[in-house]
């Protein structure tokens, strides 16, 4: 079952002559991990950032085609490119969360960081808040490290802990999809392993799309892989097929390290 279905999607940045993404058709499977790989400038981050329309923070983008998101209550698909109202944007982003390359802890306590999205959602009950925060921190394998200093500033955590905090913060609002934009490229190998393990575990509850520069990472954790080049989707398949039996020459050249 698909959680998201991208159909004939094109994207142009404001003022750009040519589109950065051309006619992309890509399914995102529910409760699977889909990775987007490709050389710098291929449009993989642009595509990911279209999937919760975070692009709209900066006006003047041109969207074309459809990005359909499964509506869990009706079972139907809504085209998120049709969203215009602020309220609908807020709902979209509560359903489709995002983790960035650089950890982005907010300048507040660890507890308030995780509770932020919940408070935005209107949850005021103290015991419900602390239950959900605890669950999110446990789910992000951070609880044991921070349970005795929830009131301390999140800025004092290490880079890897900060990134797991950001994941906990996103998980707390129970999204249907989580988008990871190179979540480990600013981290050391041990923190990277912890994040990868976490992403694989999250798959049970959340569908995941991840942009990565690291092909080993894509092959280690993802179920499906899409290879992109210069704004085109070159090939999409099960991860093992992409890495063992790519159909396209360009894909093979990239994964064997001949370019990129």
């Amino acid at each position: 079952m698909l959680v998201m279905n991208i159909e004939k999607f094109s994207f142009t940045y404001p003022g750009a002559e040519a589109p950065s993404l051309k006619n992309i058709t890509l399914p995102i499977e529910k409760n699977k991990i889909t990775s987007l790989i490709g050389p710098s400038g291929c449009g993989k981050s642009t595509l990911l950032r279209s999937m919760n329309r975070i692009h709209d923070l900066y006006p003047g983008n041109t969207y074309d085609g459809k990005i359909n998101l499964l509506n869990e209550t009706t079972g139907e698909y809504d085209n998120i490119l049709a969203i215009k109202k602020e309220n609908d944007f807020i709902q979209l982003r509560q359903k489709v969360g995002m983790i960035f390359q650089k950890p982005t802890p907010f300048p507040m306590s660890i507890f308030d960081n995780v509770a932020y999205g919940l408070k935005i959602d209107g949850i005021k009950n103290k015991s419900e808040l602390s239950d959900r925060v605890e669950a999110a921190l446990k789910g992000s394998a951070l609880w044991n490290e921070v349970s005795d200093r929830l009131g301390k500033s999140a800025m004092g955590l290490s880079g890897g802990q900060q990134q797991r905090l950001c994941i906990a913060r996103a998980v707390a609002v129970k999204p249907e999809v989580l988008l990871f934009d190179e979540p480990t490229s600013a981290l050391d190998p041990i923190s990277t392993a912890a994040i990868e393990e976490l992403i694989v575990e999250l798959r049970n509850d959340i569908s995941i799309a991840i942009v990565t520069h690291n092909m080993q990472q894509a092959s280690r954790i993802s179920d499906y892989t899409a290879f992109m080049y210069l704004g085109d989707l070159i090939e999409f398949d099960k991860t093992e097929n992409i890495f063992l039996n790519p159909k396209e020459q360009q894909t093979e050249d990239y994964i064997t390290g001949r370019f990129g």
Binding site: I54, L57, M98, T104, P107, M108, A170, V173
Partner: protein, 268 residues
């Protein structure tokens, strides 16, 4: 050889320039300290100018600057937030440039402006007029501080807030301003230090008063304006009092400035 020589000359010239600059600053401070301290007495803090004290002037100066801050800080911060977070392209740039021009406007001109729009129509000088003149001086400083401190907040932080479903204004209020808080507070403190010692905007707006007063609808006691009056007085005792007042004013500004520096250093 030649490069080494040029290096030495440049080093010597810049050292001499620095020494000259600092020497004058030290001279001012030492003169102020010596002359101010010789006529300084703690009774200055408990009697008013009419009894050769400074109490009403110090309190008045802080009320003038404080009321100016009540007007200037919110307006400046909101304008700064507008041009950094909401303003787009040319329109925001025009406001930013206007604010920069305002910042370098001569303070006596601001005094004359407030004289024309408030003192003349109301028929007399008042504490409000003085505070408004000081607020006009303060606004562009607060705008520029807010603007530049917000620009230091990484855009990823804003995106992370938006990605959690927060609306733009909540991201600004809850996250961006918090991240820039220390810088903005320091800037506001420095802006306050800047206006608390001003004379020209007050000279013909609030004037000064020899008596203790909390009534801002009339001429209002001001330390800086009184220094101006006392320093040009024929009596030696008045001029001595002016030195003591200058010393106190400088010390106040210095303490506020150092507090600002201290906050920034401790938070970084």
């Amino acid at each position: 050889m030649k490069r080494l020589l040029i290096n030495k000359i440049v080093l010597a010239l810049s050292t001499i320039s620095a020494v000259i600059g600092l020497a004058f600053l030290a001279w001012i401070l030492v003169t102020l300290f010596v002359k101010g301290l010789s006529s300084f007495h703690f009774s200055l803090f408990v009697t008013d100018l009419i009894n050769n004290g400074l109490r009403n002037l110090i309190i008045g100066q802080f009320i003038l600057a404080g009321f100016a801050s009540v007007i200037g800080i919110p307006l400046g911060m909101i304008a700064g937030i507008y041009i950094r977070e909401y303003g787009r392209g040319r329109y925001a740039n025009i406001i930013r440039n206007l604010s920069d021009i305002m910042m370098s406007a001569p303070s006596i001109v601001i005094g004359a402006f407030v004289y024309a729009i408030i003192v003349v129509p109301t028929g007399h000088t008042s504490g409000f007029a003085g505070s408004i003149a000081l607020a006009i001086m303060m606004i562009p400083i607060v705008i520029s501080t807010t603007d530049s401190m917000l620009s230091l907040v990484p855009k990823e932080l804003r995106e992370a807030g938006i990605a959690l479903g927060a609306s733009k204004y909540r991201v600004i209020l809850d996250i961006v301003i918090k991240a820039a808080k220390v810088g903005i507070m320091t800037g506001i403190l420095l802006a306050f230090a800047r206006i608390v010692g001003e004379t020209a905007p007050l000279l013909f707006t609030s004037q000064t008063s020899n008596y203790f007063s909390l009534d801002m609808t009339h001429a209002f006691p001001s330390l800086s304006v009184s220094i101006y009056d006392l320093a040009s007085d024929v009596q030696t005792s008045s001029r001595d009092l002016a030195w003591a007042a200058s010393f106190i004013l400088t010390a106040m500004v210095l303490i506020i400035n150092l507090t600002g520096k201290f906050i920034t250093r401790n938070k970084k």
